[in-house]
Every structure is written in C-alpha cells, then in structure tokens.
C-alpha cells in the first residue's frame, strides 16, 4: 500500500472508530502483521485499549488474525487490510444500491450490517423491524417475517454472506501471547493465506431461524435514543437457533453490480436507451453462469437474448439484430461476437469495457485539467502508441510551439512517457529516436493514487472547516436540543421563537455557509469514489488476466 492509501485509511478510521483505532490501524498498516505484544509496545497504548481496538477492527473485517505463522503455538498475528478500510468510503453507495434493489428493508439491513461489521440474522431482523416500526404511523408495525424474507433475498443474490468460521487451529495457549515455542518443535506449515469467505461451503446457506413477532415501538422515545432502544431490543435473551452464525456484506457482489451498472449506463450514454436495455438483458442472463473474474460473459445467441428481453421493451427481432451489429461496431467494444451459430453468438467484453471506461476517464481528466487540445495530443498518443515530437505536432494539427508546451506539461505530470531508442549504443542525441507514448495501466495507477490523495484532502478540509466553527456548531446543536425538548413539553410558540432567536442572523448565515461547504465536500468524496471504483476495477481486471 502507498503513503496516500495509509493516510486515507487513517482518516477514515479516525472518523468512524475514533483516534485510538486510527493509531492501532495505521500502525498495523505500516508495520505489517504483528502480534499483540508488539502492537502495545510500539504504539504505547494501554493493553485494554489496544484489545478493544483490535476487536473493533476484526468485527468490521478490517483486520484478520492468524496464529502459528512462525511455528505452532506462536502468538496470533494481526494484519489490517487496506482495501477493506477504503471500502468505508463506499458505504453510502452500497446502502443506496440496496435501497434501489430491495427497498427500505434492504437498505436498513445493509446499513445495520455495515454499521456493526457483522451480526446474526435474528439480531439484524429484530433491529431492522424495530427501526421500520419506529418510522411507521401509530398502530402499525413491521412483521419480522417480512424483514426476514428481504434478508433471504439478499442472501440468495449473494449480497450477504456468512462470516467464515474461525480457523480451527487456534492454539489453546493463545491467552499467553509471549509463550515462546519450545525449541525443536517442527514448525507446522499452517496455511498462511487468510480464509476467503467463498471457500466456506455454507457461505450462502441460511440457517433455520425461529423468529415470530413484530417490531416493537418504543414508547415515549426521543429521536436521539432510537439507537439505544434498538440495541436494547437486540439484547433480548432468547435463542433463535442461529447463535454464532454471523453475516456480513459481500462487497465483491456489490462491485459486480456496480460494474454492470457502469457498463449499462455507458452504453446508454454512447448509443441509446434501447441498446443499454439489450446489454442489461445480456448481463442479467449471464449473471449466474459467468464467474466474477471472467474476461467476458458466456456466449449468448441472438435467439436467447430475444427470448429473454422483457416484453415491455417492444423490440422486434430484426431491430434486435440491427442493434447487436451496432453494438459490435462500436469502438468501445462493449459487446463482441463469438460465433455465427444460433443467429449469432454474442458476449459482453467485461475487461475490454473496463479498460475502455478507464481510458475514457483518463482522457477526460486530461481534458479537464489541461484543456481539450492537450487531450487531443493525449488521445493521439493513445491511439498511435509511439510518436516523435514532430509527428505529434503534425498529427494533432496544433502549432509547434504550443504543442511542445502541452506535451512537456503532460510529460512533467507523468501522464505521457518518453521512450529513447538509440540507433547506436552511445545514446548520442543525434542518433536517438525520442518517442512519446502513453502507458494506460501505470497512468491509471497514478491517477488512482491521486484520487486517494484527493479524498484525503477533502476529509482533511472538512475536518478543518468544522473545527473552525466548532463553537458555532455546538451552539446550534444545543439550541436544537432545547427546541426539541420544549416542543415535546408543549411550550408556547413565543417561547420557541425566543429560543430560536438565540442564534443571530450573521451566525445563521455562517452556519448555512458551513453546511453548504460540508455538503459539497461530502458529495465530492462520494463522487471521487466512483472514479476510484472504476480505476480499481480496471487495475484488478488486468491483474487477473495476465
């Protein structure tokens, strides 16, 4: 991981789990796998807090532990996963996706699981039902069975998965971390790879849960206490038959969904709505048959596609054929032809699509930062691979002086690389070709790091903004609390306005400005994450093909 990633991880941990966890987390990120004693020694945090922090990190899946790497009986070592911590940035998107796919119930299930890392099914269902009941009108309540059916559907579509059980090879004496392995014991080769959830056979098996009842409404509850009430409800000491089976959000599945959505919306933007619906149908058909890392979907015949198209689209067969030919001819290469049988076999080129989307992202970054003419040079180099300076000037049809300036700017920003090809081994400039080129993958990597840096800067700025007007924020919170309590006790309207006026007009202006800034910064974080997702998927896809 890079310095930028560590910085961003630290900020995310601090915002969500507090400073202690941040310290432990970044220490683990920088130092690799370590045992409990080393962590305590090197961070200088008390044993109690380190233990708690590790519990939090493990609970949220941000940290894995395994023992016996250095021989049997050696203390458990903890390791944080940078990628998992960076996922915190994408939480709003997961929740929103769950809402669009499975409604409010799905939204709340995902939200609860993300907030708590992992939970049992019964616990989740109860909490969600209580929260839904809270928002319903008086006299109505949410049945547990409804929530559990939503839960079932989420598991069925693999958006949720079971937490892998603890590796059985936990040594008994792990309570004494400093116990040295007796000399001469053969170092038992324990598998060093952390268990992946998918390797666990019962990953998507829902246990039988006996849960009958309805969400409870907390009487005389204040808004702020919802959380605590929900938790109390969770603490009901009944057994439901699923104790010890915890569930977590399957981020990979969400990412597949995001990838498909990105392809569909790109097709919609590039061609039209109808062709995007065709691609959507193709992706839906191959969802089950294609492995997540495959370069392209299993071939589908035009007949199959036609039969699977929802009737509401009203696309006749000849039109479908025309659309498919159009999609194949498109330079973005989203859809490819795999054969002629069955009226033509078609595939969706996942990796090609990701590469092309990443390329488009790079181009638009260059365009927005250096202008459209620089982008022209950049695109030219992408298409022609290697060009000499003179050729760049000619092909781009930009005056030599300006073209040079742009080219050098791009070169200094590392967006364009220079390749020297000497005719003689002495690298004499007169006998050397200087070729400019764009390497898409390294450039995408660099851009990804820039994105991490951007988000970290955004977070930092937001913290700064809210720190600057901390007093004002506290005041407004206090006044809001007073107002709420007054309203609850049925105070006179004059009293309320009197309290409201405690915030003066300039203060109010300041608050509004602050809120606007913070909203913008937050929104920007969300949107940079979309770019991050695209670049990450592209980079991961190249890793799995090579």
């Amino acid at each position: 991981m890079t310095a930028q990633e560590v910085r961003l991880c630290g900020l995310l941990l601090r915002e969500h789990f507090g400073e202690v966890v941040e310290k432990v987390g970044t220490h683990l990120l920088k130092g690799g796998a370590q045992n409990l004693r080393t962590i305590i020694h090197e961070t200088g945090i008390s044993l109690d807090l380190v233990k708690k922090s590790l519990c939090v990190l493990v609970q949220h899946g941000a940290c894995v532990f395994r023992s016996g790497r250095k021989g049997a009986g050696s203390p458990a070592e903890y390791q944080t996963c940078c990628d998992r911590i960076l996922r915190i940035l994408r939480y709003p998107r997961y929740i929103y996706t769950a809402k669009t796919l499975y409604g409010d119930t799905g939204e709340l299930i995902i939200e609860e699981l993300l907030q708590r890392g992992h939970m049992t099914m019964s616990g989740t269902i109860k909490t969600v039902a209580d929260r839904l009941t809270q928002n319903m009108e008086e006299g109505r309540s949410m049945d547990y069975s409804e929530v559990s059916s939503a839960f079932f559907r989420l598991v069925e579509t693999h958006f949720l998965q079971r937490c892998p059980p603890l590796a059985g090879a936990e040594p008994k004496d792990s309570s004494t971390p400093a116990a040295p392995a007796p000399p001469g014991t053969p170092a038992a080769p324990v598998s060093t790879a952390p268990p992946t959830p998918e390797s666990f056979p019962d990953c998507y098996k829902v246990p039988h849960v006996t849960l009958v009842g309805r969400g409870k409404r907390q009487l005389a509850s204040e808004d702020g206490e919802d959380q605590r009430n929900a938790k109390k409800a969770k603490m009901d000491s009944q057994t439901h038959g699923d104790e010890g089976i915890c569930w977590q959000v399957n981020f990979e599945r969400f990412h597949l969904h995001f990838r498909d959505q990105a392809i569909i919306s790109a097709v919609a933007n590039k061609l039209d709505q109808t062709s995007s619906e065709i691609v959507r149908t193709m992706l839906r058909m191959s969802e089950v048959t294609t492995s997540p890392t495959a370069t392209c979907t299993k071939p589908l015949s035009a007949n199959e596609i036609f039969r699977s198209l929802p009737t509401s689209y009203n696309i006749p067969r000849p039109i479908l054929d025309q659309y498919l030919t159009l999609l194949i001819d498109d330079p973005m290469e989203f859809v490819g032809k795999a054969g002629e049988s069955g009226g033509g076999m078609y595939v969706v080129n996942m990796h090609r699509a990701l590469a092309n989307l990443a390329r488009a992202t790079l181009e638009s970054v260059v365009q927005e930062r250096f202008g459209s003419r620089s982008a022209r040079i950049f695109r030219l180099l992408l298409r022609k691979r290697h060009l000499e300076q003179k050729q760049v000037e000619d092909f781009a049809m930009i005056p030599a002086k300006e073209a040079k300036d742009m080219l050098y700017t791009l070169l200094s920003q590392n967006l364009v690389q220079l390749q020297e090809i000497p005719k003689t081994p002495d690298y004499a400039p007169s006998r050397t070709f200087y070729l400019y080129t764009v390497n898409q993958l390294p450039t995408a990597r660099m851009l990804l790091q820039n994105c991490y840096k951007t988000v970290a800067n955004l977070v930092e700025r937001r913290l700064f903004e809210s720190k600057e007007s901390k007093r004002l924020l506290e005041k407004s919170q206090r006044i809001e609390a007073i107002l709420a309590s007054l309203q609850a006790s049925g105070a006179e309207p004059e009293q309320l306005t009197e309290v409201e006026e405690m915030i003066t007009a300039p203060e109010k202006q300041q608050l509004d400005a602050l809120r606007l800034h913070i909203n913008k910064l937050d929104s920007a974080e969300n949107q940079v994450d979309e770019t991050i997702f695209l670049l990450e998927s592209y980079i991961n896809s190249t890793a799995s093909t090579s």
């Binding site: 939480y91 890392g117 010890g244 927005e368 300076q389 002086k401 040079k404 949107q527």
Partner: protein, 231 residues
C-alpha cells in the same frame, strides 16, 4: 592560483569556455532535427512545481440529483451513527478540569460502551478482557464490607457504652470520640456510595486499592477501640 587567474590571458580563455558551454552551439548536431528551434524552447523549470498551482481550467461542478443528495444524507448519517456506536473508542481522557455540559452525553456513550459484547467465538481469546476475575472480586469484597459494617455497628454501640461509662473522663477525650464517631459514619457512607458507583463502572486498579483500604478500616477501628479502652 591567484597568480594565474589574474593573468589576462587565462581570464580571456575562461570567458571563452563559459560562453561555449552555455550556448546552443554546445550540441554537436543540429537540434532543429529534434524539433527544438531557437526561441521555441520552453522556459527552464527551476525547483519543484508549486504546492498550490494556479489552475488554468475551472473544475466542473459536482453532479447533483436525487441520488447524489440521498447518498450525501446517507454518508452524513452513517458518520454520525458510527461516532455514537460503542465501536468508536474514545481515548481515556484525563479528568476534565471544568465540568462541561456535554459530559452528560459522554456518560451515555460510556454506558453504550458497556453494552457491546462481541462474539468471542470469532475473535482470538487473547483479546478478551479479563472480566471474570474482576467480576468475582467485588462479591468477595461485598461480604467483607458487610462484615466490617456489622463490626462498626458493634463498635459504635460499644463506644456509646464506653462513653456512658466513662462520663467522668475529661472533655477532651469526649470530643475526640465524637469526632471519631462522626468520621466513621461519614466514611462509611462515602464508602457505600462509592462502592455502588464502582459496581456499575469499569473496575480498575484504583478500586482494588480502595477496597483494601476498606478492609483496613475494620482493623483500624479495632485499634481505635483498643485505644478507647485505655482511656
């Protein structure tokens, strides 16, 4: 050295060399071939680029729409909730100098903290806080406290008796006994109060030492009684 540089011939030669080294003519080939003409060279860069460079192009505005607004709300809500959850660990702050209004909320949070019990089957054993030992201790303490309470009651009655008996004693000692009696009662009360608080709060070393004092208390009062008897 000085002698050489001062000589006019050497100076002339140095100047010539400098001129040759700096000029475009230093290249042994025609640099026009590279596309670098006279005057078309960009300005040389000295030092790193500035930390906050001027941007030639203004950034495009953020996307706005229902989706974005909802995700923004989700993000802010999520952050707020996560900060209230017990998973958000606060550093052990030193006692605040001034009692603040916000402390009321902090106490609530700490209560929440107690509520979170992770599933220990999924975590290494070594992370488990050693609670059992600490839980066992207070019960034992409770007994000792009760006993000492009985003791003190007995002691007080004894003291009263002694007081009545020893009416003829000088006033000074009378005062002292009263004072002591008062102290004892106060201490007892404080102890009871503090004990209740500690029961709810987390145990730490501080309490342990406190209860040791409690045990000492009984013994101490015995001493007192002895002392009293000698009067």
């Amino acid at each position: 050295m000085e002698h050489f540089t001062n000589s006019p011939i050497v100076q002339r030669r140095l100047a010539a060399m400098a001129g040759k080294g700096r000029g475009v003519a230093a290249f042994t080939f025609n640099i026009e071939a590279l596309g670098i003409g006279r005057g078309s060279m960009p300005e040389a860069r000295v030092g790193p680029s500035p930390l906050f460079p001027n941007t030639d192009f203004k950034p495009v505005p953020l996307k706005a729409g229902e989706d974005e607004d909802y995700m923004l709300a989700l993000k802010q809500e999520m952050r707020g909730t996560m900060q209230q959850l017990p998973h958000n660990i606060k550093p052990q702050s030193n006692k605040a100098e001034v009692e603040r209004y916000t402390e009321r909320y902090l106490k609530q949070r700490q209560l929440d903290d107690e509520n979170w019990t992770p599933d220990w089957n999924l975590l290494p054993k070594e992370l488990m806080p050693q609670k059992k030992k600490l839980r066992a201790k207070p019960e034992a303490k409770k007994k000792t406290v009760k006993i000492s309470r009985k003791d003190t009651e007995a002691l007080l009655t004894k003291l009263d008796e002694l007081e009545k008996k020893g009416d003829g004693n000088p006033e000074k000692s009378d005062d002292e006994t009263e004072k002591k009696k008062g102290n004892d009662e106060e201490e007892e009360e404080i102890e009871a109060e503090e004990y209740d608080e500690e029961d709810i709060e987390e145990e730490n070393d501080y309490i342990d030492s406190y209860f040791d004092n409690g045990e000492d208390f009984g013994a101490g009062s015995d001493d007192n009684m002895d002392a009293e008897a000698t009067y």
